[in-house]
């Protein structure tokens, strides 16, 4: 495909990132992103919250501040009660409100299958845009949310999860990456992305590919929901996790000591996952302390960046 460029495009399709960035002036750039999906939880209000947290996350991952949003709705009006849609949208609005983002419009169509999401617009200083592919050797990698939502949601589908676990995983997916992003803006961060459908392995691969850098991951330090490890070993793993693992097989080197369930969770597709942040080695400890002091207790240093022509993800 031939996509004409423009001198004001800072991040566009030719270097796919979490969101597009367009320079308005030397002081201001516009961030735009859109995301929608089918329900991943049964409760409509929670689904709305999760969809909003997920859509906002792309702006945070670019180092920006989201400001406005628009709803995208596909709804089976002939077979589903309209009150379901009201609850979904209320969930979205409440999450936007929590983020200080205002809903200014939207569009809905009739569809056999329910879908909801948002387009989000935010701002960033053009010099402070955080792209994925800017890992610096010596940087440390910080992950702000535990992994395992895809596997736990599969166990929920199987009817295995307790009400308590459903509440826990829902809360995790609905939690904003806002605070982590705010704290990140005060530290020397070179790259950032958010963990979603490609899993930790897939998103690490995107950060590494074509950069002449490699990463070393300490699997024992990667935050994971303990229930996800348990359900992974029982075979409640979504197809996407296997696809993610296979797709990046030739880039990933797992030490023999890394249990299979840990490998599975590292490839697990996440919904509204945490931020994966590459921060300078000297500031890693104070950054992590700041995150934890702000209540982001699951945040952990999971690895480091090194110069490496082979561009591997080495997990031990």
């Amino acid at each position: 495909m031939n996509i004409p460029g423009n001198e004001n495009v800072i991040v566009g399709l030719e270097r796919a990132d979490d969101a597009g960035v367009y320079k308005i002036s030397d002081e201001l750039a516009l961030i735009q992103t859109v995301d929608f999906f089918t329900p991943i939880v049964d409760d409509p209000y929670s689904f709305g919250q999760i969809a909003a947290a997920n859509a906002l996350s792309d702006v945070y991952a670019m180092g920006g501040i989201p400001k406005t949003a628009m709803n995208l709705v596909a709804f089976p009006i002939k077979t589903m009660d309209i009150s379901v849609l009201r609850q979904i949208i209320q969930g979205g609005i409440d999450k936007l409100n929590e983020a200080g983002v205002v809903l200014i419009g939207g569009h809905s169509v009739e569809d056999k299958e329910l879908k909801y999401g948002l387009s989000v617009t935010g701002f960033v200083h053009p010099a402070k845009v955080l792209v994925k592919k800017n890992l610096h050797p010596g940087d440390r990698l910080i992950l702000t949310k535990p992994l395992g939502t895809g596997i736990v949601n599969t166990a929920v589908k199987a009817g295995l999860a307790s009400a308590e676990l459903i509440e826990k995983v829902t809360g995790l997916m609905a939690s904003l990456n806002r605070e982590a992003a705010e704290i990140m803006s005060r530290f020397r961060v070179s790259a950032c992305t958010d963990i979603t459908g490609f899993g930790l392995i897939g998103h690490l691969a995107e950060m590494v590919c074509g950069t002449g850098r490699g990463v070393r991951i300490f699997s024992g330090k990667v935050p994971m929901m303990p229930e996800a490890l348990e359900y992974a070993s029982m075979g409640f793993i979504p197809a996407g996790a296997y696809r993610n693992k296979e797709f990046r097989e030739n880039m990933t080197v797992f030490a023999d000591t890394v249990p299979r369930s840990v490998q599975d969770v590292m490839a697990d597709p996440q919904t509204s996952g945490g931020l994966l942040i590459s921060v300078s080695g000297e500031q890693a400890a104070s950054f992590l302390t700041a995150l934890q002091d702000a209540g982001i207790r699951d945040a952990a240093e999971i690895g480091e960046v090194q110069e490496e022509a082979e561009e591997k993800i080495r997990v031990r």
Binding site: T154, A155, K157, S233, G235, I237, P238, A239, Y242
Partner: protein, 71 residues
Amino acid sequence: MTTVDARGLSCPQPVILTLDEIKKGNDREIIVLVDTDTSKENVMRAAGSQDCQVKDVSPEGEGYRIVIEKA
């Protein structure tokens, strides 16, 4: 020998059926038929989590035939 036909079912149904059959404990050997790689991998993990041994995995038709034996 019991056969669980999980073909045409999507994740996590094949695993649920396999675990149910293992827990019933009627037969020492259980054959599970699946038609995706995901189901194959998940059923093998399910068996392993219940102290069962996967004795054989062979292609059958469009999918796989998994032979599980209880310890």
